[in-house]
């Protein structure tokens, strides 16, 4: 019984630590958002979103950059979603007893996920820009990003598929349904929320990326005419304005605001969706 006061104190201490670290987290988020809100919101207009940049980005808008960003993102998702869902489906449903193969795929996914994005940038430059001869282009950038977000998508979809109760597979099999049919008609629809979350997470990761794109999709601020044109995405624009263009800070902040807002909306959608998934379907 003598121990009780001590363990109570310990509880209080741990409680305090946990609370203050979460407060710190929220505080940091608020400070960053407030700074960008204060500086970015001023002068933000429809015109800024639609016109071309002028004077190295100090003036004008970010119209072409939004188009480039959407194109890079589109290519990234076009490649990474089918590949990611396919790999996850194989790992989860078809790999059977091939433990060695699945283990090595899981390990390589972990390693891929921890590679710094600048390394992906160099890889993309060598493989897509030079070896495959796509040059500095939106295509090269999108493909590089696809390599980067693949581990995230595979992981999230895989866990989504594994979370589908095994008795559904068993019941489907007992009714004489093929494995492909069970996957297509029962497991994928059940895991659809997880797949959507995976895609949203991938979008978030891809939109926030700078380093991997500097070497692959390039710097050009013109409106891209095809995916073989070089195109500057929003995050690269922010980096360039902040680092290389004296007097570009204001537009950098505005661009940051646009990027942050879109990311926030995407993440809110993701958490909304996953929340509904966890509470809604299993009732």
């Amino acid at each position: 019984m003598a121990k009780r006061p001590l363990s109570e104190k310990l509880d209080q201490l741990v409680g305090l630590l946990v609370r203050s670290s979460s407060a710190l987290m929220v505080g940091m988020f608020l400070v960053v958002t407030a700074a960008i809100l204060r500086n970015g919101l001023s002068g933000l207009s429809m015109e800024f979103l639609t016109t071309i940049p002028q004077d190295s980005g100090r003036g004008g808008g970010i119209g072409p950059l939004i188009v480039s960003t959407v194109l890079v993102l589109g290519i990234c998702l076009l490649v990474s979603i089918p590949l990611g869902v396919g790999t996850a489906a194989w790992l989860s449903e078809f790999s059977g007893s091939r433990q060695v193969v699945t283990k090595s795929i899981q390990l390589s996914l972990d390693l891929l996920a921890s590679i710094p994005s600048i390394v992906f940038g160099l890889f993309g430059m060598v493989v897509f820009c030079q070896k495959l001869n796509f040059g500095f282009s939106i295509l090269s950038g999108g493909l590089t990003l696809a390599c980067m977000v693949l581990p995230i998508i595979i992981r999230t979809v895989y866990f989504g598929l594994r979370a589908v109760p095994g008795d559904i597979r068993q019941a489907g099999t007992a009714l004489g349904m093929s494995q492909t049919r069970i996957l297509r008609s029962l497991i994928i629809p059940t895991a659809m929320p997880a797949i959507v979350v995976a895609i949203l997470l991938g979008i978030g990761r891809a939109m926030a990326e700078t380093a991997a794109l500097i070497f692959t999709s390039g710097y050009v601020m013109r409106m891209p005419e095809s995916v073989f044109d070089s195109g500057r995405v929003l995050s690269v624009h922010i980096y360039d304005l902040a680092m290389n263009v004296p007097g570009g800070e204001t537009n950098a902040q505005r661009t940051a605001f646009v990027l942050l807002t879109s990311l926030l909306v995407i993440n809110l959608c993701a958490s909304q969706f996953s929340g509904r998934w966890l509470t809604g379907r299993r009732a």
């Binding site: 008795d167 068993q170 019941a171 007992a174 009714l175 349904m177 093929s178 059940t190």
Partner: protein, 257 residues
């Protein structure tokens, strides 16, 4: 003891999970269009045995099955047999109802479309199956609604309907009433009895009173030499009255197991 006109003949069946032997030297005959109850304590391989009858054991990577299981003239365990056909002929219902996360109607039509039936046929069979299990009047106005919203007893009857829609020759039931309340359990039990005229039924149950009420034929599972096997089988009434084996006697009278 043998029985008249068996539809399933199991001979020298052995099932292993990796190193562990789950069933050994199991020989059993299951009579046609009767209810065969499989009873015995937990962990002596009744569910494993049921899973071998429609090759669900294939789902387990380290599970090996040897011996023979004849369904009429087809050897279920042979590599050449058509698995999808076997599973259509031998339906199965599990302890826990597993409705698919789809609409009530889609739960029934999905397996039918998998077996290549045209859409009009699918709906007719689905409706008939729902009537067979006495669910039609309860759900006819909400066929497009999620099956997950049904009550436990309704879900289990839906699962039985889903198996019946494929018109199987044999229906395997793995403790179908154990997760249900007594009233829902009685409804399902009556349903099982009503199906006897149409098909062969093999039911695993821990409820000896239930076995006594519904079974025509019975097999008692027990652990022998570290593996499950059938120690006694025969007409249920005779077996309850006068089991030969001492352990079977104790088990059936409720003093062991």
């Amino acid at each position: 003891m043998t029985c008249d006109s068996p539809i399933i003949r199991v001979n020298q069946l052995e099932v292993t999970y990796g190193e562990q032997v789950a069933l050994r030297d199991l020989t059993l005959e299951i009579p046609q269009r009767q209810i065969t109850a499989l009873v015995g304590p937990s962990g002596c391989g009744k569910s494993t045995f049921l899973n071998t009858l429609n090759r669900l054991t294939d789902l387990l990577p380290d599970c090996k099955v040897s011996g023979s299981i004849q369904l009429n003239d087809v050897d279920i365990l042979s590599a050449e047999c058509d698995l999808y056909e076997i599973r259509r002929r031998v339906g199965m219902v599990f302890q826990k109802a597993v409705p698919f996360p789809l609409s009530i109607e889609k739960n029934l039509t999905l397996p039918l479309s998998e077996h290549g039936l045209p859409r009009s046929e699918q709906q007719k069979l689905a409706q008939q199956a729902l009537k067979d299990v006495g669910l039609w009047d309860e759900v006819k106005d909400r066929l497009k609604k999620p099956a997950m919203n049904l009550s436990g007893g309704q879900q289990q009857r839906l699962c039985i309907a889903r198996a019946l829609a494929l018109n199987p020759e044999v229906l395997l039931l793995d403790e179908p009433c154990s997760a249900l309340d007594p009233i829902a359990s009685r409804v399902v039990e009556n349903l099982i009895v009503s199906l006897r005229k149409r098909m062969t039924i093999v039911i695993v149950t821990h409820n000896l009173a239930q076995a006594k009420r519904i079974a025509n034929h019975m097999a008692i599972f027990w652990i022998r030499n570290g593996a499950g096997t059938v120690i006694e089988q025969g007409p249920a009434a005779a077996l309850f009255l006068n089991p030969r084996e001492a352990v079977a006697q104790e088990y059936l009278s409720g003093t062991c197991g």
